[in-house]
Symmetry: C2
């Protein structure tokens, strides 16, 4: 059972005490007035109650902050976006990350390009890619275990490494970003397809290295047929149905 | 700004409303009794207040659960235990992990043996160790960024890889577990020193591979001179002075 990394500050407890007191003492004054029909008495009781109970409420809040009872942790998930370079994975990851953060969740986006910038020695052979993706999968699973939603956007062309990652995670959602090669090559945002066609880059997925489509992805989205928000909404709806209830 | 992964359940809000009500209504009854000297009246006001305010308090709790105000996140740290095989790193990591969990913190223990069991292909050459430790450091930094205390126990013999990890983390606490080689070899819990001496294992730190002591560790503990709880307490005190205030 993991624990909270938040402590309520004294300021929060005091602010809650005051906001409750305004509500509570108005109710008390009304009650005393209804029962006694004496306005002065109801104001006196309400006034003293107002002050005395702020202190009492504050103590009550501090005591409850020590208790775990009734604090339910939300089980996060690992959303794994797989697909060709230029398929729209990173854009979708950013959209989805924002949407989840807006709902108050803790989110970590792991993106192929960003991680490779930190580990530039990582190559593109099958062995190197497999090792790289297994390490990323391990990272994703540790974040998930600690209450963080993970959105991973990696070409991750091999079924074996994706299966390895699936085995490490609790809630693994494999999203196949199935934008066709022709469309990815037409976009060629980073100019990589042109370079691969000219033979300047080796082991380029879709050109001289295979992409093994997921055999049973949880979701498939094709960004040549769907806008970013349409594709993102599909993933979000999938998450909502399974993980974000309550 | 990261967010909470906890939602307060309705049960918690109702339990708090009732526990507060018992306190609050007793105070109200006492006040009415003191002002009016009429027991029946004070019981009537207190009784109705008791019921009506449970509902009001519950609504008040639900509203506050939506607010982030006054919820202060605790900044965690990465405690990196470095030292020879058999120096006592893993035992210390378990002790420290338990101590931090008892205080309600989220903790992830990353241990060399456990991680290598998941990645058995990882070798012991300088290049392989460096890459391995950099990946672990990246993992540790991502956990730290997401509010998790990390206790990493790895031989991590090279200054360069430890410096790389330091650069990735926010609060990096390098703990040099400086138990001397003679003592580690005398313990030889896993029988690895004997095997390394017989030449059955290559690249064994302390035997045929160097250990570069940290140049400026935050802490140094020698488990041949200190018990586990003494060494653990030193680390805990260091954390308390710097990170666990308030």
């Amino acid at each position: 059972m993991s624990r909270a990394m938040f402590r309520e500050t004294h300021t929060r407890s005091i602010a809650k005490a005051i906001s409750w007191r305004v509500l509570g003492s108005m109710a008390t004054m009304l009650l005393v007035l209804v029962f006694t029909r004496r306005l002065a008495l109801s104001l006196a009781v309400g006034g003293i109650e107002f002050l005395a109970k702020i202190g009492l409420f504050w103590l009550h809040e501090r005591a409850w902050d020590r208790l775990r009872f009734g604090k339910r942790e939300i089980a996060p998930a690992v959303v794994w976006l797989t697909g060709l370079s230029g398929a729209g994975k990173s854009t979708l990851a950013v959209w989805l990350g924002d949407a989840l953060r807006k709902r108050g969740f803790r989110v970590e986006c792991l993106d192929g390009d960003a991680v490779r910038a930190i580990f530039p020695q990582t190559g593109f052979t099958r062995v190197e890619r497999e090792e790289h993706l297994r390490r990323i999968g391990y990272l994703a699973s540790k974040l998930e275990q600690n209450g963080v939603f993970v959105i991973a956007s990696f070409v991750s062309p091999y079924e074996s490494s994706r299966q390895f990652v699936r085995g490490l995670c609790r809630n693994f959602i494999e999203v196949y970003v199935s934008t066709p090669l022709a469309e990815c090559e037409r976009r060629d945002v980073k100019g990589l397809y042109a370079r691969a066609r000219r033979g300047e880059i080796r082991n380029f997925t879709g050109i001289d290295d295979p992409f093994e489509p997921p055999s049973r992805p949880e979701l498939t989205v094709d960004t040549s047929a769907l806008s970013v928000s349409e594709a993102g909404t599909r993933i979000l709806e999938y998450l909502e149905q399974r993980y974000l209830r309550g």
